[in-house]
């Protein structure tokens, strides 16, 4: 199933109306919108946005009015004879000089105010709030997100992909790096972006203040499927989050019936094991996403498709038609093997 999300109008006219409404201050309710903040960092920037837009609009109106006034004043003059040009009296020249000086002085004042505001908002959102943050490690890959939950007790470490569960109200500290090229981590409802750079460790933090599913997307061009490199932040109440974490820490469940057992065999004897891990089985490769609890995730192919049987089948057989250029090769399977494999993958709750 696709994650629950705000209703989005689909026809162009109502979409336009909604967004003009958003531009006018109603706040566009989107699941990937910087104007619909769900955490303190995005919230501070959304507030900054509206104050900047207000000041910019006022400045624009003043300057354009001055231009229109100047055009109108000049236009009322008689057309000069060939070879003549206007030169004003010293008094008029003084007025013009004063006007320009006042305008420049106002510009300087507005800019100083802007820099002070910007720096103070910037340092406020950069500071991680005091209470103990949850630490998550994210590694960027072409074109998916590896998500690790490290624990002081290393037996409790676990990995997932493209879906970051966090408890509502608790700050989350994210340490990031990239396995290949530069990516950028960005979930606009929650926080601004931070790059994932190979050879560097970058850090960002966020806090989700209300439960919900927020979409994020890679923001730094990273090759062919940059457009299809999304992830979800799932903000849950603490108890739900704890139980999710408990489940994720476990190994993959044993296949419960003969069909799923056959499916596991297909997985382990096929090319799948070259790239993927399913903990509790011999599959332990780390090229592609960890599939231990694949069935618990909302989407496949980094937020590209809802995680259901049909999509999973299509993805396994021919990923190149869904994400051209993706590193996963197509897999040849006869119908019965495919059915078994799908049953097995869907049992990985």
């Amino acid at each position: 199933m696709m994650p629950a999300r705000p209703r989005v109008p689909t026809n162009p006219a109502s979409m336009l109306a909604a967004c003009i409404g958003a531009a006018l201050g109603a706040g566009c309710s989107g699941w990937q919108s910087a104007l619909d903040p769900k955490g303190p960092r995005a919230d501070a920037v959304a507030k900054l946005h509206w104050s900047l837009v207000t000041v910019a609009t006022v400045v624009y109106v003043i300057v354009i009015s001055a231009l229109i006034f100047a055009l109108w004043r000049g236009y009322r003059r008689p057309v000069p004879d060939q070879g003549h040009f206007h030169q004003e009296t010293p008094e008029q020249a003084d007025t013009m000089k004063r006007g320009v000086i006042v305008a420049v002085a106002l510009t300087v004042i507005v800019m100083l105010a802007f820099v002070v505001t910007s720096v103070s908002v910037g340092s406020a959102v950069a500071r991680v709030p005091g209470n103990k943050p949850l630490r998550i490690d994210v590694v960027g890959h072409q074109w998916w997100w590896e998500v690790k939950y490290p624990d002081p007790d290393t037996h409790n470490n676990f990995e997932t992909a493209n879906e970051i569960h966090v408890p509502v109200g608790r700050p989350v500290l994210i340490k990031m790096t990239s396995q290949d090229v530069i990516h950028s981590f960005w979930a606009p409802n929650i926080s601004g972006k931070k790059d994932l750079i190979p050879g560097h460790e970058t850090v960002t933090w966020f806090r989700a203040d209300s439960a919900g599913v927020y979409r994020g997307q890679c923001a730094e061009f990273c090759g062919h499927e940059h457009a299809k490199m999304a992830f979800f932040i799932v903000a849950e109440p603490r108890l739900e989050f704890e139980s999710w974490m408990q489940k994720q820490r476990g190994e993959a469940p044993e296949p419960p019936d003969s069909l799923t057992q056959a499916g596991q065999k297909v997985f382990l004897s096929g090319p799948c094991v070259m790239c993927h891990t399913i903990s509790g089985t011999p599959a332990a490769a780390t090229v592609g996403p960890n599939l231990t609890h694949l069935a618990s995730r909302r989407t496949i192919a980094a937020g590209t498709l809802p995680n259901n049987t049909g999509n999973l089948a299509g993805w396994i057989l021919d990923p190149q038609s869904i994400k051209p250029g993706v590193k996963m090769p197509p897999t040849q399977l006869d119908p019965s093997s495919l059915r078994a494999l799908l049953a097995y993958l869907e049992s990985l709750k």
């Binding site: 989005v8 900047l52 354009i64 055009l71 013009m96 931070k194 560097h200 940059h226 051209p324």
Partner: protein, 654 residues
Amino acid sequence: MTASANPLPAIPDPDTRRDLISPRDEEEMRAKLSATWREKSGFYGWLTSTNHKSIAKRYLVTAIIFFILGGLEAGVMRLQLSRPENHFVGPDLYNQIFTMHGSTMMFLFAVPVMEAVGLYLVPLMIGTRNVAFPRMNALGYWMYLFGGVLLYVAFFMNTGPDAGWFAYVPLSGPQYSPGKRVDIWAQMITFTEIAALIGAVELVTTIFKQRAPGMSLNRMPLFVWAELITSFMIIFALPAIVVSSTMLAADRLVDTHFFNPAEGGDAILWQHLFWFFGHPEVYIIFIPALGMVSSVVEAFTQRRIFGYPAMILSMVSTAFLGFGLWVHHMFATPLPQLGQSFFTAASAAISIPSGVQIFCWIATIWGGRPRFSTAFKFIIGFFFLFIIGGLTGVMVASIPYDLQVHDTFFVVAHFHYVLIGGAVFPLWAGFYYWFPKLSGRMLSERAGNWNFWLFFIGMNITFFPMHILGLLGMPRRVYTYLPEMGWGGLNALASFGAVFIVASVCVFLFNVWNSLRRGIPAGDNPWNAPTLEWATTSPPPSYNHLFIPVVEGRDPIWDAAPGELAVVTGLRTDRHEGLITSIMDAIPERRYEFKRETILPFLLAVFGGGTIVIAIFSPWGVTVGAITSFVILAGWFWPTISPDHDTPVSREPL
């Protein structure tokens, strides 16, 4: 031939009034100059030309062709994004197309076109007969042309670069961009950086040493100032891209590891080097446009520009500040926030010199009598669009704000308002303004009106919704998006706007084609403009001005009584002779013979350029190219000019 064969005095006399020269002498002079400066005809003559106007016109036409190609690429992108999950082009082609669009517009259109206008107008405006290094000028054009052709030949062979016009490593490195695509990009950069540097050196030397007597620095037209400042920016900014593109090519071709983190290289180093060039690049495009705005505003309000010294200081400070902004492209990298804050402040500070100029232009309009012809309409459009781009530019200078909108369509909207509003609109204004000088005919005002309104409306329909798209979370450089993102409507609207832009460009091309054939003859100075390019015929003869003018004020034509512009006499007419004047006050110093037309620049471009292309495939290219280029350069530097090609003149103060 010796100086005695000349009917006029051997020492230039800079104080002769034009109206005191007899018509017979004038006629004789005109005939001699025409014979001396006549360009060779035929294809060979075309290849060997070193006249700045011929070369600048080629630059202009080539740049406009690249503008159209870049625009078509933008059209393909708008078609692809017009609805979610569209399959018009796939990611492989889309990534090539947006890379081509950016590279074309920046390297093959915007920078060259601004230099082209400068190379055409500056010698006319400062009253000299050719640019300082005529053969190098030709070389610059050929290098630019070959670089552009290389890029497009590669693109049509499905080897177009696909790592973005900014080519971030490691994506553009050998591991993640195998094949030749990025090598093509890097070598296209080599070609264009050679061309840009050549143009810059030409313009600086020409402006400093060849101004008409009396045109001291504080009497130079603002457009010439703009080209001078831009040329200095090119000279300081280009080395960064020379170094970084060479390092990238070395990483790719000979296995160095400058940018490879696995071997101790650093990916962020590229960003510093690229943006240290890349941000000044924006001002390299924008400052000449400011000069055009000043020229057009002055002519179309019939008033001197208000605050001339303030305008120059603003352009100079913009140029300096332009070198202190590069980190604002890198706010999402792990650089210390305190350090980044300085770049916020510097970016905000840019709005002060920009504000000074806008206020001075408004004051000029306030004190003048505006004429609403097409050129001036484009200037009004410039105000409406550029100020939006400037204000959003201040917004994205804020670190926390930028972290939300960086690399989204908000930024796409921002810089298209800046670059189209701030550079293309002034360029169009300049085109309508100077076309009569260039061609001798006026452009149609009626078609111009359509050209303006279609572009102005289309530009806003296309780019304004992108601000909202960015805030709604749409990243840049995505070849598609899911229907449930809710971006479909605004994208469809943006794509619809592109139709107006295409229509406007078609009207423009028709207008040029039609006006060239049956436009109204322009006469020397149809706008009653004040600067020297209007003191000669339209189009100007190959030697520019019949007599080198003598300048007595900031607006030479307005300052002299009609027909009484003072002139220099005594320069030789039997050879390509020009007058060298002092840097500050333009006092005559020397008479100087310009180098003549030759095939050598073309040959050097073919063999030297061939080297650059072959180097993509084999290091032997460098060896072959070094030898052939050496032979050609030996011919180039061979002393062929008479010993008196450079002789002092009397230094009488004016």
